[in-house]
Amino acid sequence: MKTITIDGRSIPFEEGQTIMDAALAADVYIPHLCHNPEFTPHGSCKLCNVKVNGRTCSACTMLAAEGQDVINNSKELNDARRAITQMLFVEGNHICPGCEKSGNCQLQALGYHFNMLDAHFPYFYPRREVDASHPDVLLDRDRCILCELCVRASRDVDHKNVFDIAGRGINAHLIVNSATGKLADSVLEVDDKAVEVCPVGAILVKHHGYEVPIGQRLYDHHDIAEISLMTEGGGSDE
């Protein structure tokens, strides 16, 4: 069996697996947000950045290879990951205490995980368009973190190509594939994978708000590392 080491621990891998794949299979948590094992790795959020033989790489896109000595759980990396999480908070408009996704949101959960106590950076307060046109789905771009999970899910699983990214730099934003640019005129349906996969409160299902009280939700009581390994790790059903 070929192996890599992660934080001194020997981790087996198979040809074609990324460092993230190998880590999850061995129940080693590498923080991640834009990565979801069900979809093509993307490598954009940079929360899974690890040091591989001294070089910074994204664990979700870097193929595992014999001889890799990976540092994952270090103070230096976790400080950087906290700062990156804070960047994601200040670039959008997040309203955690009142957000329908509160407690089930992976961005918020990572904030908890990294012991993030404030936003640290100045807020951008961008003006972003809310799209409430669809009968069953709300798109609130204020909370979009540009992870492109909905883009990938709609393209690769739903085969609908409902979402895409437009613009450049800090002006990058999520757009909808319809003549008006509105969700109502797209082919999106409430059962689409693209709706389910949003890790934050950007794509929300209508008519089902606050059924579980905030405070009794997933990440209110469990660290994201624990949930990730339970659902995505080696011991999970997948």
Binding site: L47, R168, G169, G181
Partner: protein, 601 residues
Amino acid sequence: MHSTRVEDCKAFVETLIHRYQCNPTELIRILREIQDRYRHVPDAAIEALASQLSLPRSRIVGVIEFYSFLHTAPRGRYDVLLSDSISDHMLGKQSLMDDLCRKLGVAPGVTRADGQVSVDNTSCTGLCDQGPAGLVNGYAVTRLTSGRIDRMVPLINESVPLAEWPSDFFAIDDNIRRADLLLNERPEPGAALAALLERGADALLDEIDRSGLRGRGGAGFNTAMKWRFCREAEGDAHYVVCNADEGEPGTFKDRVLLDSYADQVFEGMTLCARIIGARRGFLYLRGEYRYLLKPLQDLLAQRRQKGLLGDDILGATGFNFDIDIHLGAGAYICGEESALIESLEGKRGIPRNRPPYPVTHGYLGRPTVVNNVETLAAAAAIAVHGGQWFAAVGTAKSKGTKILSICGDCARPGIYEYPFGTPIRDILTDCGAGGTLGIQVGGPSGTFIEPGEYDRRLGFEDLATGGSFMIFDASRSLLDIVGNFTHFFAHESCGFCTPCRVGTSLMKNTLDKIHSGHGTAGDLVELRSLCELIKEHSHCGLGHTAANPIIETLERFPDLYEQRLKAIVFEPGFDLDGALEAARQLTGRDDSAAHLQQVDR
């Protein structure tokens, strides 16, 4: 849009799609032609493209919004862009911009109500030795003065066609001041290919190897090794790409090579094609160099006629290769090779995850060599003169010569070719620079050196550069320079990864705060750690280098930053008195009680 316009637009899109053989990889070229005709990409065109190319509409909109020269809302019938590079600013760009906007009655970035004109900034146009420069409807104009601005205004207001504008507006000089190995001679077209056929591909590759040639874009990867990797990589097709997306501010040597030595560049591409087994190549020409498109296409046609391109090149059975020119649409990031390939495929220029590298997974996932213009020109010269001819010049790890684009505060800006190993001091003497503050070697993503370092030498061992060499005299403000570079990176960040997308904008805002006298000691500490984060954690070279101007100057000249800081104990996130301005205007007050001071006096 009126229905006749819609019909016209649909018909035009139809002809384009037919011409580009319904190929979605041609999307950017198609969009450029639509933009030219309608001054934007109308909705009807997006609709027609989506249905006929079988692309999601959103994908097309995403592409349009990514590139600076494509628009979803109409620009003026005259779209004037002024180069925002530091060298243009040093030549008085800002006052010309103000002047032009005032005289035309237009605000930057907003098309005039009558649709006649729009004026905006654009990233470096690669005419730094003859600036201030700009683009009018995509065509380069040079040596702008207030006199030229005065002449330009009536031409625009009276709708004089661009073809009837004074030709001196569009005059572009090569300004070759020092020629060496490459610029001294122009081998006969076909000479390198004849040498190739005579000696064989293996022997020629060995010759390139012997020359020690390394990539001229700045990174310096060994050229023979790149070609060999690509040649050995498996794939049903191989490709050669010439990277002429010369976007690093202050670089313009590829413009001169493509203007006056293009035969040699195409010859280098053909040589590479034979060695790696490619039948198709692309020249990715940056949008700013659009005026070169027609002459380059004409030259390709000539080469086909001479049997130097096409089937059975120089009569060698099966030596088939042709070159297509792809015009970019205004995105610095497309100089990054994998972003360039994405752009060639008709997509947004987002750098790919690497590995795999283009030599194994490039254009359409096939093995692809991407080389700088100068590298390919050098390869052609090496084919003619031999590896030893080239390797005899330069230093141990940097063989041959390097072509520099010199601009800024010197008597003779222009193109200078030097053997690697030349000390900076000699270069400054040649171009007539004195009383300098420092030199930015390699553009904003490169290195700033001070007068005490002028014994340092050109070369991969010491000062590597893609060609940009900007000189600043003692009258210049370092923070203005750093500010210009930092704004450039924030503007050009592709937006893919968090550290660069958010970080470059945070960096820009924090630097501006300090620069404008509103920063505190805490902001400086913050700026430093932000820079380190962006450098360490970004996805590609843009992010890895975007913080360099601040990191380097903070290290060398901390005083310059500290002098700007406010001496207060707390950190204002904003200018308190400035924030009251709207309230003052609303209430019509400007008395002392309508002002608040942040600092205890």
